[in-house]
Symmetry: C2
C-alpha cells in the first residue's frame, strides 16, 4: 500500500478558521512537512501549533535562499529546483513506504503556494490530495470590515513584486484589487496606486486573522514603513448594490 | 444586551470544508437565516443540513425576483432594495431582542455574496461579525487538480454576466482567470475566451466540492450545454516555477 501526500490548506492564521477536514488530517498525522526560512519556526508550522500530534515525525523544508540571489540569476532557479526535487524525493519515500504525510500550507495550497512546486513533481509518483483553505486575502477583506467585490465587479489579484507599469495597467482596469507579497514593495505598490488614481481608496492589512492584525488606510501609513512580507493591500469594488 | 448578526461563510459545499468557527456557531445557533429562491430549499440551507439545531428558528429570505425583471429596469433595484430592507429589519429586531442570528452564506460572505447587502444595512444598527469561508473558486481549482496561479501571475476574477468586450479585454491581459456566474452565459464566456485566444486552456467546473462535481475541458463541453448558474470557468496561470 502506498501512502498519500496531503497538501492541507490551514487558512489565514486563526486556528478556528481551519476546516474540519484539515483538523482531522492534522489530528491523525504521523508525518508532517512544512516550509520555513532557515533559523525560523515557519509560519505554517506556527499556525498548526499543538494541533500537530506530539509523536508525529516532522520534516522541515528549509528554503536554500530567499533574497540573496536575484530572481533573474540562473542559479536561483537551479538552486530552488534542486531543493524542491530533494523535498519531493523525501515525501515520495515516506508515501512509498506506506505512510501518509501532511504538508502544512498557509492559506490555500493552490493559490500562489510553495506546495505547488512539490505537487507537480509528486503527482506522477504517489497519490496526492489537496485540501483547500481560506486564502489570506479573504481574512484581509474580512478584517477591513468591507466586502471586496459586488455585482459585476472585476477583481484582480496582483503581486507587489510586479513591475510598476504592469501594476498601474491592472489597477486602472479592475474594479477591486488585492495586492499580495507587499512587504518592502509597498513603496512601489503605493506609487502604482497613485498613478492609477486608486491610492486614496487603498487599505493596508498586516497579519490578517492573526494576533497582531493591523488595518490601516494607505494614506495613514508613513512612507518609510516596511510592513511584513505577507501584508495585503486592498481596494474594494464599488459595484451594483440595490 | 444586544445580540450579534453573524454572517458565516460555509465554504464551497462539502461540509468537511467548513471552518471550526462556522461549525461552532451553527451548533449553538438559536436563529438561522438564509437566502433562497421561491419554492427551493436554498443552497446555503442545504449545505448546512442537519448542522442546524432542530430547535433553531429558521428565517428563509426569499428573493422577490431573479430574472423576470432585467437588471437595467429601475423596478429591479427598487424591489431588491425593499427586500433587503425587510430582511434587515427582521434580523435587527432579533438582535435587538438580545438574541444572536447566524446568516448562512455559501463560500465567503464578502466575496460577491448576497449577505453584503444586509451587512451594509445592519452595521449602523446592531453588532455584526463576519466569518470568512473557502470561496467556491478555491474548490473549483482544487477540483481541476492544477494550481491556479504561480509566482507573479495576475489573476482576474470575472463574472459571466459581463459584456463580451469587457471579458475579452481582461482575458487578454490577465495570466490566470476565474469566471463565475457562468450558467446560461457560457456561450458568451466561450466566445470571449476564443477571441482572447484562451479557450483551448479553459476548464469548466460544475458543482465544485459537491456530490455532482464535474470537471471538463471547455473544448469537450457541447455548444448547447447549459451548466448550473454557479459553474466556474478556469484558465490556470503558467507563471514562474523552478
Amino acid at each position: 500500500m502506498t501512502g498519500t501526500v496531503y497538501g492541507v490548506g490551514l487558512g489565514p492564521g486563526e486556528p478556528d478558521l481551519m476546516s474540519a477536514k484539515a483538523l482531522k488530517l492534522l489530528a491523525r498525522a504521523r508525518h508532517v512537512a512544512f516550509f520555513r526560512k532557515k533559523g525560523r519556526t515557519g509560519r505554517a508550522r506556527t499556525l498548526a501549533g499543538e494541533l500537530v500530534p506530539a509523536d508525529a515525525v516532522e520534516f522541515a523544508m528549509e528554503y536554500p535562499l530567499t533574497t540573496e540571489v536575484p530572481l533573474e540569476d540562473p542559479r536561483y532557479n537551479r538552486t530552488l529546483a534542486e531543493f524542491y526535487d530533494g523535498c519531493t524525493a523525501h515525501l515520495a519515500a515516506i508515501a512509498g513506504g506506506g505512510e501518509d504525510v501532511v504538508v502544512l500550507c498557509e492559506g490555500d495550497p493552490f493559490f500562489y503556494g510553495s506546495f505547488m512546486h512539490l505537487h507537480e513533481r509528486l503527482i506522477t509518483r504517489v497519490p496526492v490530495e489537496v485540501v483547500p483553505g481560506i486564502p489570506g486575502m479573504a481574512a484581509a477583506w474580512t478584517a477591513s470590515g468591507v466586502p471586496i467585490a459586488w455585482g459585476d465587479d472585476v477583481l484582480s489579484v496582483l503581486m507587489g513584486t510586479l513591475d510598476e507599469d504592469v501594476l498601474v495597467r491592472h489597477m486602472e482596469s479592475a474594479d477591486a484589487l488585492v495586492v499580495m507579497k507587499v512587504g518592502r514593495n509597498l513603496f512601489r505598490v503605493r506609487a502604482a496606486l497613485e498613478r492609477a488614481g486608486r491610492a486614496q481608496d487603498a487599505w493596508v492589512i498586516e497579519c490578517a486573522a492573526m494576533a497582531d492584525q493591523k488595518v490601516t488606510r494607505l494614506a495613514d501609513v508613513p512612507e518609510s514603513h516596511v510592513p511584513p512580507y505577507f501584508t495585503i493591500v486592498l481596494v474594494h469594488g464599488q459595484g451594483r448594490r440595490p
